[in-house]
Amino acid sequence: MNTFSFAPRDLPPETDALRAEVRGFLDETLRDFPPAKRAFTWSGGDPAFSRKVGERGWIGMTWPTKYGGGGRSAFERYVVLEEMLTAGAPVGAHWVGDRQSGPLLLRYGTEAQRARVLPSTCRGESFFCIGMSEPDSGSDLASIRARAVPTDGGWIVNGTKLWTSGAAAAHYMIALFRTAPETEARHAGLSQFIVDLSGPGITVRAIRDLAGSDHFCEVVFEDAFVAADMLVGEEGGGWRQVMAELAYERSGPERYLSCYPLLAALMRELPSAPSERQAIEIGRQVAHLATLRAMSISVAGMLDAGDNPALEAALVKDIGCVFEQALPGLAQSLLEVAPRVDAGATDYQQVLAHCVQNAPSFSLRGGTREILRGIIARGLGLR
């Protein structure tokens, strides 16, 4: 059996001052930001907030300074992320660029691509979305149909991307397209591109989710032109690159902290002299939270050391999602308070309503629970 290890890591002491700085910034900037909005955590975006974060140097923190990055450590970035998430800050606009698009370009992009998009990303002015899923291709990503066909000076793209989070507010999409017909080797013939979403032939339509938000979108490409120099990495090498991108996507603290604002709100509602059952259940959440944090920091340490903790990251995402997904139901069972968003609903009711309704998505986005467990099983040597 292959094994995994989560060596305990301390965040370096230098991060303490940064943490205090981030807390001070959030206290001030979000003073009047209501709990119901905080409940969105990283799926809620606010470009003005992102610009303020950019001014502080907290986007692209680990990237080289020549691209506007901060040249800081992965642990410093980690501290900023966990503080933003637990405060329920509206980080959604810049989240994807900071988490995966920027790192992808630093790894596979050209000098010109980096120079073009990274500095404005760091300033909180350019936002990215992830163009992987399609109407007929979810878990089976290699089956995508959106095609880029070579033309003079670039590519002509046709097809549809679906469930693209934040596409309506994003400037760029990192898109995976088929650039050669599907053959027996299903993972061949795929390529990644930077797509400027303001170009002609691209229509973005927001899709209302079950809770009433317009968070994810359908993006239709009709003879859209993508310039040759927007190909990322190797033509036909998209699969390997997209797997690397997914590793960035799946390994962060947002995979267990999506419901943190609910935990805090629930604790605020509970009496300070709780019943035995309330105390026990809150204690369990504290134990899970503390353990997930230790594991998540351990993964951050492995990433920082240049290791590839694919199995460890999948394990944290899997148990992290189980944890955050169970919180809304637990909250409903600990207090006789209904989830509500109508007029007169309390802050707590609104936060609860948000989390109850959004919980199903936690084990879908970023790769479903089943796909993740397949990755874990492979890591264990079972397949």
Partner: protein, 348 residues
């Protein structure tokens, strides 16, 4: 990992792997003291990983103890290693020489009056391994710290044999004016026996969890049904993936407790560990048994050496509900706004 830890990991893996056979565990469960195994462990210096060299130890810390205790859980070592580690640490803290041979400890601090004089009169239940330990450590809450005393188990008026469901000795012990071999006041708090007891059990449990995963993965690869190894069925793969999550979290939680112990004031991390691991027991044991089918339900097979220990240890030194309640009351008393700052301040 420190060099010492790597060395210890190698040593225990080799020694336990070779010596802790199922015959050995079965014999222990029938009540036969595994003296040869004990001597081998002691000769290899594995009973005092955490004690300073001048106390006959390996010069390590709680981190080294973790390596050994987790391995003892993984191999279901039928010896009072955790108890010896705990008792010898208390003796060292009290500056009392640590005697050779297996040690144990009365699992809760007793009334100060019990250790008030030269002799001890005491009747306690559920002392782990008392029937085989050479010495028994008794700790008393004196109001301004913990008084630690060393007694010979031979001086007990009566030892009433009992067992937990892992068939480890959990004995009643009665001392009647038994002589105190040594005794000293420490500045340790009165809760350390209970709290550090939960910590050593957490390490053993994390190890037993690993045993469940290793055995289940191996068995799934070997057992053929419908013409293929059951590991090829996706539902089995996914169950094992869930088990891996439970095992990973258990290991991380236990190790964090030992890291905290090297810094002092580990009560929070220990409560987290005992809660988190206890919480994982149902899921982990249920998956492991389900994957094994009927054979895993036999005494013959041996999966139960790990599962029965997990069920037994879950209830010792405070169950997950016990520790969760403590964590929950503390968190709610501090208030929602303190939860995150308190968490991030740990280890600082």
């Amino acid at each position: 990992m420190s060099e010492l830890r790597v060395m210890l990991e190698d040593a225990v893996t080799r020694l336990f792997g070779d010596r802790v056979t199922r015959e050995c565990v079965e014999a222990a469960e029938r009540g036969a003291w595994q003296g040869d195994l004990w001597r081998a462990v002691e000769e290899n210096g594995l009973t005092r990983p955490h004690l300073p060299e001048d106390a006959g130890g390996a010069g390590g810390s709680w981190l080294e103890a973790y390596v050994i205790l987790r391995a003892s859980g993984r191999y279901t070592v039928p010896l009072p290693l955790a108890e010896t580690v705990l008792a010898s640490w208390l003796l060292t803290e009290a500056k009392i020489d640590v005697p050779d041979g297996p040690l144990t400890i009365v699992p809760t601090a007793v009334d100060a009056a019990v250790l008030g004089g030269e002799a001890v009169t005491l009747d306690v239940a559920d002392v782990p391994w008392a029937s085989v330990a050479a010495h028994i450590v008794v700790a008393a809450d004196t109001g301004d710290g913990l008084r630690v005393a060393l007694l010979s188990s031979a001086s007990a008026a009566e030892i009433r044999g009992g067992q937990n469901i892992a068939r480890e000795p959990r004995d009643g012990v009665r001392f009647v004016a038994a002589p105190v071999l040594a005794s000293a006041q420490t500045t340790l708090t009165a809760d350390v026996v209970h709290v550090y007891g939960a910590m050593v059990r957490s390490a053993q449990m994390a190890g037993a969890m690993e045993a469940l995963l290793a055995q289940s993965v191996q068995y799934a690869g070997e057992r053929v049904q419908f013409g293929r190894a059951i590991a090829k069925f996706q539902v089995i793969q996914h169950e094992l993936a869930k088990l891996a999550g439970a095992v990973a979290a258990s290991g991380a939680a236990a190790e964090a407790a030992f890291v905290a112990a090297t810094r002092g004031h580990p009560r929070f991390e220990i409560a987290v560990a005992k809660t988190r691991i206890g919480d994982a027991v149902d899921q982990a044991t249920s998956i492991a048994h389900q994957v094994h089918g009927a054979i895993g339900f036999t005494y013959e097979h041996g999966l139960h050496f790990a599962t029965r220990r997990l069920w037994a240890w879950r209830s010792e030194f405070g169950s997950d509900a016990y520790w969760a309640e403590e964590l929950g009351r503390a968190a709610l008393a501090r208030g929602a706004d303190a939860l995150w700052p308190d968490l991030t301040a740990r280890g600082r």
